[in-house]
C-alpha cells in the first residue's frame, strides 16, 4: 500500500524505511512515525512518551490518535494473518515481488516453512 500511495502521488517513498533504515524516506515525518511504531511495540515507556509528545507538537493530537490506531490495528492484523496461514493475494504478490526480494521480506514466510509467493505453489 505504501508503494501504491507513492505511485499515485508521484512521490518516491523509500520503502527501505520499513526495514529500519534511518531517515524520512521522503515521507513527511517518516522517521518520527517509524520511531513511534517501534516504541509502541517496544518496552521503553520513557521513549514512547517522548515520541508521543513530539508527534503532538509537530503533527497534532489528531495525528497521534490516528497513528496509534494504525499501530494498534496492524499489531493485531499481523497476528490474525500469521495464525491462520493466509497467503498474500496473487495480484499483490506480483506487484510486490521485486521489493519483497530486495528488502528480505520473503524470509518471514520462508522461515516458517511457507512459500512466500502463492503463485509458486502452482
Amino acid at each position: 500500500m505504501l508503494r501504491e500511495s507513492s505511485k499515485a502521488k508521484g512521490e518516491n517513498y523509500d520503502l527501505a524505511l520499513l526495514t529500519g533504515v534511518k531517515g524520512d524516506g521522503n515521507v513527511p515525518y517518516g522517521a518520527l512515525l517509524v520511531a513511534f511504531a517501534e516504541a509502541v511495540l517496544g518496552d521503553d515507556d520513557a521513549r514512547l512518551s517522548a515520541i508521543r509528545s513530539e508527534i503532538r507538537a509537530k503533527l497534532g493530537d489528531a495525528a497521534l490518535i490516528d497513528a496509534a490506531a494504525i499501530a494498534a490495528t496492524f499489531n493485531a492484523i499481523d497476528r490474525v494473518a500469521d495464525s491462520t496461514g493466509i497467503p498474500i493475494e496473487d495480484a499483490k504478490a506480483a506487484a510486490t515481488a521485486d521489493f519483497r526480494a530486495a528488502l528480505g521480506i520473503n524470509a518471514f514466510a520462508e522461515n516458517r516453512g511457507e512459500i512466500a509467493d502463492p503463485r509458486d505453489r502452482r
Binding site: 513527511p28 512515525l33 497513528a67 497476528r79 500469521d82
Partner: protein
Amino acid sequence: MISYANSAVAVRDDIGQAHTVAWRRIARAGAWLDGATRVAIAAEARHASQCRLCARRKAALSPYGISGQHDSLGGLPERVVEQIHCIIRDPGRLTRQWFDGIIASGTSDCEYVEIVGVIATVVSIDTFCRAIGLPLHPLPEPVVGEPHRRRPRSARQRGEAWLPLIHPKDLEGDLDTEEEKVLAAYWAGIVSNIRRALSLVPEEAFAWFQLVETQYLQGKWMWDFANEYRAISHAQIELIAGRVSVLNQCFY
C-alpha cells in the same frame, strides 16, 4: 463501557464507540465459546507477556524444540493457553505444524478461529491504549449465555490457508445462517484474504473488520489516494502499518 473522557488527547468518538462494541462482544457468548471463556482468553492474552516458557522460546533459534509448561492464569486448558501465548509472543514464527498440533490436541477449527478473534480484539485495543499513554481498560464481566454452535456450510478448505475459509462466491444464492447473510452483505464482492481469515466464524470476521475499518480506513478509502481521511496521510498510515508488520515479521 469504554470511555476515553479522561484521555489527555481527544480520542475520536468512532474509536470509542467501536472499542465499546468490541469490548461488549468479548463478554458475550460467541459462536462456540461462552462469555466466561472469552473473557478468560482475553485475560490470558494479557498475561502471556509474563510467561517464562514463552521468553525461552522467543530467545531460541527453534522455538518449538523447547518444551515445558506455560505460566498461565490457570482458567483454560493448556492447549488453549499454548495457542494464546504463541500468537501473542511470537506470531511471526507460527507454523502449519504448530497449528496442526493445536487442532490435534482437541481445539476445533471453529474454536481456534474464535480464540484468534478475541486475541485480535484485545491486542488491538490494548495497543491503542499503550500508544496514547492510557492504562489498559478493565476486562468486562462475562455475560451469561450459550454459544449457538452453527458452522457455516459455505466455508471450505481449498488449501489456500490453514483453515477453511469462506470465499465471496460461496455467499451467492441461498444461505443457511444469519451470520453468513451479514457477511455476504458486508463483503459484497471481491474480498482480500485478511478479511476472509476469520470467516469460518462469520461474526468474528465481521466484527473484527468493523474494528479494523474504524481504526484504519474504510475499504473504499484505502485505495482513494486522491483524498485523505485521517490526520495523517495514506503514506504515513502505510509507513506505520508496514513498520509494525516488519517488526512482527509478518509476511502478509
